[in-house]
Every structure is written in structure tokens, then in C-alpha cells.
Symmetry: D2
Subunit: 272 residues, 4 copies
């Protein structure tokens, strides 16, 4: 039609080749959301599992994601350095990831919270963004940033809610007590006043969750026939995803493994 | 932490002020999706209503959308020219809209398709994009483009499926028969061979759906107190949204009304 | 060659259609430059004429510029709203304008400053940027912004240098005296202490310079033959450019004329 | 002033950190320009030297350029991977480079072509663009791309103009003769028919020109005092720039040296 010229107003948002593309999704207003659905404080196991399930859904349904990391109401996904998914268009990548995440979160919710059904006026939603990291160092530092954030918030929240729930402090008093305290101080409060050894807290709460393919070998075929596509889909559905809660800030071996794998995938993959 | 520098790798994607921002969402692989869930051909009333419900969810939960238009597996949303939502950041706008749309689609599905529950391995997802239109003419032409697309596809699909379903043609033969035909020819086939007057087909199928606030007067308050926010939320929840299936290509009055309203909202709204 | 893939790392930077594209150039380190070449303070007539000549060079050698405004060490150029020069690529537009400006500045310098030749270690250079303005209001406000800037700086500089040159104040004392003064105060100082009526200062110093085609009718031909191109070039070379020093903040008539002209050019021009 | 809001229409165009930024400038319409000023064909020694002088001007006047490569009417400049010049703003970088290049080209012209002065209606101008290369491999491949381009064009042009100038062929016949020929064929024509060994042609014509600091040790001081700045300027003015015409496609040692140097500069430089 004569109106088609308006398509030209769309801008070309392809991301730079050979950089790691990270898509981060983050829950919108989860402060409210966690109240509305009575999440346990500071960590609700079911809610975190629901995030992990949603992330698994992204890994299985959006090709070329080789690593994911989640904590609190957020999840980050990294694509193979050489992915050509959607020709690396930023909008396509970030919208597909966040839509897939949202869909799987809601689906997982119905399984994990059978007695706490979602209110249609208060549904979980997420924003997303795409960021490029040009080298391994900045990529590692990105994940270290998110894991350090997890640690800092979790130590704070654990101490805060212990003071409130076990120490009978008002939220206001707990907050005041924690102003200016360092990590060591918070560990001390937990240990001395409440007999809690922070080190023994669940790893998932302290470190967040890392999702990794058991084997990153189910590559998307180039110009697949219907049969190849079905086979690919089946292989992805059956492939195992491991959930880890390890330290990614200091663990050299972890990164060596992950990146060696990425490298192999990158050089052998005919990404479409 | 010392890793925070990686935040600087995020780019600033604020859209140009005083342009109309359009976010279009489109179902991913709905060709397959409509088969999987047995949509009626060429139009499934429930499926279209599900789209409309999802779009209503966006209008109620993402502020400053003043008009939306949907057809097939897509929906377009326009923001007030002067919106300052998310400081006009493209990623935030497009991801929030598509996530909200997805969540509401799945929720509406459970209401509209009680006997056709979603398979967790085959969930509905959408992509999205943000496009700027700098003036009223290009904005109108954008909507005309989408509505013309609706018309062309629907006339084709209606004729094609009539040939197949009522005319007993194979899909291949139906396709062959339609090659090179103009609109008039398709109208003729429908009328002469099957007694179908295309003009009498449902308006929603022919024109798509337009969503408009009955009154665009529930503006988001500036720096709202909790009370103001609750009041605002309630007013939005109660506000009426009209669904129209009118012609937006030729209807001057429609645009006069819509844009006069937009103008008023724009000048009176303290958009946050 | 097998290295050609690196061309794909270039990004597509086409600017939004139907917006006014403004390219602003600004002298790099002209504080130093004006000292090095002994510019008169606060305004050096020759230096300003040199800027105007350079701007004229841009108008004659870069097609589709319909208006320019300069003051101090800067010049702004606006393209026809519908220009398709370089497919509206931002890099091409801003680099071509600044390179043409620089070349013409240096050429004009050799004519205007025969006794003050340029030192090869200290050449005049400029930066540039491209900004889109989506409507007439923002475009007018852009020019008003630059002209208001001219006025404020010129009134300040005129008063400052009068205090130093005629009032024998040290620069430091002159600066101190002017802290906190309003426009009216500065007018007063000039008039009472030095008998200078600021209104009688040269218009070019007070208002800056506006460049406008006498007739905007030498449109670039579409896919020109060599003969058409030569004819076009000749017509541009012979066309007259008017230099005005009028008020563009309040003058409605000026804008009516300019924009009517732009409109005609836009609708009749087969921009390449 | 109340018009200052228009400044917000400028977009933030900072380039991704830790990537190599390449600025390429290219002569506008140098096909015409070389005719107008009677360049020797296919290579005019003076014209190429003028390009080299202009490039040297860029290296001395724009900080953090560590390598440049030129051929024909183009030059490419690479910045230190960690440069923070202009906060890495693309517009500032590309406009400053192209303006500095233009200024120095015109200045060098007056020295190199005393008998062929520039016509004010036909001045040399250049466009420019900024491209990011995220790793060493793509950076090397970029330079290989430009040098391969130099080789291919120069072998073609040398053969073509030999056929015309020494072989008395018309341009049309020379062109026809060369259609479909490979490199070996052109070498053969030159050698057999004209006794020209292409290998003995001047290195600058065959390989282009590489500019490198003799020592990359004159780093821009952080927040310099006037004295430090003067000292820095003097050190840059006195520093030596080497011109090489070596093979950069295969020469591993060249890149090892250049990049080792870059690395040192990057880690020790307090880039402003
Ligand atoms: N009680 C509880 N709250 C949680 C849990 N996980 C996340 N949250 C809450 C704590 C924070 O208030 C919120 C996440 O912080 P954000 O900075 O993302 O803020 P929020 O989502 O409210 O706003 P946003 O839309 O992201 O700007 O989610 C949980 O397991 N239990
Ligand atoms: N049977 C049926 N199909 C529908 C209905 N609405 C949409 N569809 C199907 C028809 C098209 O194959 C598809 C929409 O076309 P698209 O161009 O968006 O393609 P698709 O979503 O398959 O791929 P995409 O991921 O958007 O590139 O959705 C409906 O009401 N009934
Ligand atoms: N004496 C004298 N100075 C002038 C004249 N025109 C411009 N200038 C000087 C005054 C200012 O110091 C300078 C322009 O100010 P800018 O804000 O553009 O600063 P400058 O160019 O030094 O730095 P920049 O590289 O633009 O950030 O040029 C003139 O006619 N006479
Ligand atoms: N005779 C002669 N011509 C040269 C020499 N160096 C460059 N040229 C000419 C040959 C080409 O026609 C032209 C460079 O080709 P380009 O692809 O850059 O085209 P041109 O600058 O004409 O157009 P453009 O504005 O860059 O699109 O410059 C030289 O040393 N001698
Ligand atoms: O949302 P925050 O406060 O955790 O920080 P951010 O996500 O970087 O901020 P924004 O969502 O505004 O980009
Ligand atoms: O998806 P299509 O084919 O309807 O057309 P498009 O949406 O403009 O294409 P893309 O999704 O690739 O931008
Ligand atoms: O250069 P200034 O200070 O007049 O202001 P600006 O040009 O807007 O700043 P920048 O050159 O850094 O964009
Ligand atoms: O100018 P060309 O033809 O050598 O090729 P290019 O420079 O890549 O093309 P453009 O200048 O249009 O970007
Ligand atoms: Mg956030
Ligand atoms: Mg959140
Ligand atoms: Mg969060
Ligand atoms: Mg699409
Ligand atoms: Mg679709
Ligand atoms: Mg569609
Ligand atoms: Mg500036
Ligand atoms: Mg300046
Ligand atoms: Mg200035
Ligand atoms: Mg070019
Ligand atoms: Mg050229
Ligand atoms: Mg060239």
C-alpha cells in the first residue's frame, strides 16, 4: 500500500559483531509484587525457583544463550559471541527474551503456587535491556557485579529481617542499627546475637543461580528442514540444564570451562 | 563494588522528544501457534478477543498510552507525544509493553480457553519494537498501513479458506487460483461462487480493533503520594476503554477527536 | 577480499525522516585561537566575516541547506525537512559540513587576513554534531536559544571589555563588578559610565548572522546528467545569499517567510 | 534562557568502552578533484604526500591516536583502546578528526603545490565515520581490508594507465582488455608488454602509508596545569612519526610491536 513508507521510520539497531550480548530482565515493582503475594522475607524459595524455571524456559526457547545468572527479581542471559540470532537486532533480542521469560514465569507460577493464584489486575511483568561486552574481562566483571550485588543485598536483608523477626526490632530500629555497618559487623550480629552462621545460609540465597547447559552441543542447524528442526527442538527439550550456586567472582576454573565451551560452540555453530 | 564500571557499558537510548512513540508487538511464530491450538481459519474469534484483552491490560498498566490498534497476531500502542515515561528510554518502553502484553495474554487465555489449556513447552510469546513518528501525518499513515495490511490479508484469507472449506479445493489449488487476482476479483469469487458478500463479514475481521479511552482524563500524578497513587490506580481500573472497528484510513473525524484529546492530555498532564 | 566482513561493523546512522536536521559547528579552543591571532575584543569584525564566508561556502557546496545562523565561533545549518542527502546519514552530514566549513574558513582567512597568515602548528578546526528537531516550534526555539546566547554573551563581553579597556579596570575587577548584574545593570553601566548606548552597537555583534538564499529555487536535479549538474552548479554559484542580523526570537514574519519557502522547496524538490 | 530545553534533543553517542575506535576520512569527489588539479595518473606523489602531511597533523593535534593508515584519498586513524577523549563521543571524535585533517591538507597543499594554488570554488573536503572494532583480530582485518583494497586498485590502475599511456590504447579499450583478468594476468601484461616489474613499483603506491609514533610516550597529562600542557604540546611537536610502507596483512611482528606499545600506553595513560 501507499502507506508502506512508514516502515522506513524503523531504525536499524543491530549490535556490534563479536561482542557478548547480555540481556538483563528485572521484575517491575517487585517490592509491591512480593508483598501482594506474601513472599517470605528476605528470600522466598518458591519465588526464586519460579525465576529459575522462567530462565530455563528462556534457555530452551531462545537459541544461542549459553549462560544465565539470576538473583532477586532479575536474570541475565548471555548469547554466544558470534550469535546471529535476529541478525543481532537489539529490539528483537531483548523483547523476545523478556516475553519468553514472562510467559514461563506465569506458567511456572501456576505449578509452584497452586494455592496462591495470580490476580489478573496484578500480574508479574519485567523490563529488559541489551548490553554489549566486548571482551572476556568485562563479561566476567559483569557477572561479578551482579553476584556481588546479590551478596551485599542478601547479607543486609538477612540481618535486617533477623533483627525484625527474631530480635523483635521495628523495621525502623533495625535499619538504624545497620547504618554504617560493614560485612564483618553484620556477620557478627547474626552470629553473636542469634547464633546464625551466615556461611551456613542456603547457597542459592548467598550466591544466586547460574544456569548452564550440561552439554552445549545442540546447535541450531543452518536453514533447517522441518525434520532437522524437529530433531533440534527435541534435542533441546531433552538436554540438561545445570543449576549452580558457585562463586563466579573468584572461580577461574568455572570461567575456563564456560568459555572453552562457548568458543567451541562459536566456531562450530552455523548460527542462522 | 569495584565491578560497577560495567554499568557504563549500557547505552543511553532515549527517544527524540515530541514525537509519537509507537510500540508494536507481534506474535512469535503464530503460524505454528495457531495450528498447535487449533485456531479457526482464517479468524478465530476467541483468539482475537484474547489479543484485545491483552492490549487492554497494556493500556491499564502502562501509563500514557492513548490509542492502540490490533489485527492478526499484532498490536500497536501509541504514547502521548509528550510522555516522559521512563524518560522515553526505548528499551524500557518496548520491554515493559511486551512483557505486560504477554502476561495479560496468558491470563486472558485461561479465561477464554478453559478447555484448551496452554502447554508449558509451547507458550505464546511476542517480539516488540519502538518507532518514532514525528508528526500527525506519519502517525495516521502508520495506522493506515496496519489497517490496509489487515484488509488485504483478511480478504485474501477469507477467499482462500472459503475455496478450501466450502469449495473443496486443495490449499495448493486455492493458492494457484488466487495468483494475480485483485480485490474486486476476490469479492467476485466470494459473491458469485459462494453467495458471500464480503461487506457483511464481521467488522473486527475486516478492520481490526481500535482501543480508546472513553475519557482520557486519569492522568498519572506527579510525584504521587501513596494515596494519590491508589486513587489513580482505581480511576484507571474503573475507566472505560472502547473497542472500535471503524475505518481509520479515511475517517477524518476519528482522528480529529483522538488528536484533540491527545493534545489536551499532553498540555495538562504532568507526566512523571 | 576476505577481509570485507569488517565493513559490517559500521552502523546505520540514518536520521528520522521528516525532521529538521541541524548541524552545529563550533571552533575548537577558540579562546586560545583568538589570542594567538590577536582578535579584537570582544568582537573581531574580520574574524566574524571569516565565519560568515565559511558558512556561505557550506551553503553553496552542501545541498539542501536552507538556513544558517552564526555567532562567536559557531554556526548552525538546517536542512530541508525532506532532504535525502546521503540518505540522511548523520556521520556523512556532520562530517561533510564541518570539513567544508573548515576548508572555506582557511581559504577565507587567506583573503581577509593577508598580514596575519596561519601558523601550520595552530590551524583553525571545528567540531560538529547533528540534532533532529521534529517540528517548527522546536526548530524556532533552537534558533532562539542560539540568538539568546549571542545576546547574553555579547552584552556581558561588551561591558566587561569596556570596563577593562576604557575603565582601566583589571580583568579581575571587571569580573567582580559584573557578578550578579542583570541586563539592565549592564546597559546602565555602559550608558552612564561610558556614554555607550548598547542599542547602537553593531547589529551583527548583538544578533549574530543569518544566512538565507535570496531565492531557494536552485534545486538539485534527480539523477542529473553531467550537463544538468554543471547547470545546477552554476546556478548555485550565481545565486545570492542574504546576510541578515534581525531578531529571530520575536519576528513572526521572518519565520513565516522562511518556512513557506522551505515548504515549497520540500514539496517540489526531487532530493536525491 | 527558556529555550535551553532544545539542548535535550541532542543524543548521547558515546561509543562502547574498550573497543578500538577507527575514524576513516575519505576525499569527497576526488575523482573530479584529481582532474581539476591535474594529478598524475595513477599516483601523484605530491598528492599522496599531502595526504600524509594531513594525517601527521591529525596525529599531532588529536590525542590518543596510535596508528594511521592511508591510501588514495582516504586515511584511517585508530585510538587507544582505552581512550577517553571527548568521553568517546562519536560526533566529537569524527568531526574533530575530519576538520583537523582538512585544515592540515589545505595547509600542506600550499607548501607542496606552490604553483597549483587552490580555487576557492573547488576546495578539498572529506567525509568521516567512526567504527568500533572489539578485538585485535577485527582491527587487523580492518587494516588488511584497506591495504588489500590499495593493492587491488593500484595494480589495476597501474596496468590500465600503462596500457593507455605507453600502449596507446584508448581508455575504453584498456578497460575492455582488463575485464576478467586476475592479478597474475596484470603482472604478466606489465612485464611482457612493457618490461615493468610490478614488484619494483614504489612501495608507497603498492602498500599505502602507515604512520606510527617513534615512541608512544608523550601521554596527555590528567588535569594538566598550563605548564604541563605546554610541556606536553612541545613533546608532541618534537616527537617523531615514522612513515612505513610495509605489509600489514602478513607481518606478525609489526602487529606485535604496535599492540604491545598500545597496551603499555593504555595501562599507563591517564587519558582525560
Ligand atoms: N520478600 C521478598 N522480596 C523479594 C524477593 N525477591 C525480590 N524481592 C523484592 C525485594 C525488592 O524490594 C525487589 C527487587 O528490587 P528492585 O530494585 O528490582 O525494585 P522493584 O522491582 O520494586 O522496582 P523496579 O521496577 O525494578 O524499579 O523485589 C524475595 O524472595 N522475597
Ligand atoms: N488460523 C488463524 N491464524 C491466525 C489468526 N491470527 C493470526 N494467525 C496466524 C496467521 C499467520 O500465519 C500468523 C501471523 O503472521 P506473522 O507474519 O506474524 O508470522 P508468524 O507469527 O508465524 O512469524 P513471526 O514470528 O511473526 O515472524 O498468525 C487467526 O485468528 N486464525
Ligand atoms: N577576542 C575574540 N574572541 C572571540 C571572538 N569570537 C569568539 N571568540 C572566543 C571567545 C570564546 O573564548 C571562544 C568561544 O567559546 P567556546 O565556548 O566555543 O570555547 P572554546 O572554543 O575556547 O572551546 P571549545 O573547544 O569550543 O570547547 O571564542 C571574537 O570575535 N573576538
Ligand atoms: N590521478 C589520481 N587520482 C587519484 C589519486 N588518488 C586518488 N585519486 C582518485 C581516484 C579515484 O577516482 C578517487 C578516489 O575514489 P573514491 O571511491 O573515494 O571516489 P570519489 O572521491 O570520487 O567519490 P566519494 O565522494 O568518495 O564517494 O580519487 C592520485 O594519486 N592520482
Ligand atoms: O533498577 P535499579 O535501581 O536496580 O537500577 P537500574 O536497573 O540500573 O536502573 P534502571 O532500571 O532505571 O535502568
Ligand atoms: O514480521 P513480518 O514479516 O511481518 O515483517 P516485519 O515484522 O516488519 O519484519 P521483522 O519482524 O523482521 O522486523
Ligand atoms: O561547548 P560548550 O561548553 O559551549 O557547550 P556544548 O557545545 O553544548 O558542550 P559540548 O561541546 O561538550 O557538547
Ligand atoms: O565510498 P565508497 O564507494 O568507497 O564506499 P563507502 O565509503 O563504504 O560508501 P559510503 O561512503 O557511501 O559509506
Ligand atoms: Mg531497574
Ligand atoms: Mg525490579
Ligand atoms: Mg531488581
Ligand atoms: Mg515480524
Ligand atoms: Mg507473528
Ligand atoms: Mg504478524
Ligand atoms: Mg562545545
Ligand atoms: Mg569553541
Ligand atoms: Mg562556541
Ligand atoms: Mg565513501
Ligand atoms: Mg573519495
Ligand atoms: Mg576513496
Amino acid at each position: 500500500s501507499k502507506f508502506e513508507y512508514v516502515k522506513l521510520y524503523e531504525s536499524d539497531d543491530r549490535l556490534l559483531p563479536r561482542t557478548y550480548i547480555v540481556i538483563r530482565v528485572d521484575g517491575r515493582g517487585f517490592h509491591q509484587f512480593s508483598k501482594k503475594y506474601d513472599f517470605e522475607k528476605p528470600n522466598d524459595l518458591n519465588a526464586l525457583n519460579c525465576m529459575n524455571k522462567a530462565a530455563e524456559g528462556v534457555m530452551r526457547n531462545v537459541q544461542d544463550v549459553f549462560l544465565a545468572y539470576g538473583q532477586s527479581d532479575e536474570y541475565s542471559f548471555v548469547f554466544l559471541k558470534d550469535t546471529n540470532l535476529f541478525e543481532r537486532r537489539a529490539s528483537k533480542l531483548m523483547s523476545t527474551v523478556v516475553s519468553t521469560f514472562t510467559a514461563n514465569y506465569i506458567y511456572a507460577w501456576s505449578q509452584l503456587f497452586p494455592n496462591n493464584p495470580l490476580d489478573g489486575n496484578f500480574l508479574p511483568t519485567f523490563d529488559s535491556r541489551a548490553v554489549m561486552y566486548p571482551d572476556v574481562q568485562s563479561l566476567k566483571d559483569y557477572f561479578s557485579w551482579r553476584q556481588a550485588d546479590c551478596h551485599i543485598n542478601n547479607l543486609y536483608n538477612t540481618t535486617f529481617w533477623t533483627l525484625v523477626q527474631k530480635g523483635q526490632l521495628t523495621p525502623h530500629d533495625a535499619q538504624t542499627k545497620l547504618i554504617g555497618t560493614l560485612s564483618a559487623d553484620k556477620n557478627e550480629i547474626l552470629f553473636t546475637d542469634f547464633g546464625i552462621n551466615y556461611n551456613n545460609e542456603p547457597e542459592m540465597f548467598k550466591k544466586g543461580s547460574i544456569l548452564r547447559w550440561e552439554k552445549l552441543d545442540h546447535k541450531y542447524p543452518k536453514n533447517p528442514t522441518k525434520r532437522q528442526l524437529d530433531k533440534y527442538r527435541k534435542s533441546v527439550r531433552d538436554a540438561k540444564i545445570n543449576i549452580l550456586h558457585c562463586d563466579i567472582i573468584k572461580d577461574e576454573q568455572f570461567w575456563n570451562d564456560v568459555l572453552a565451551e562457548e568458543d567451541t560452540a562459536a566456531t562450530t555453530t552455523p548460527t542462522s
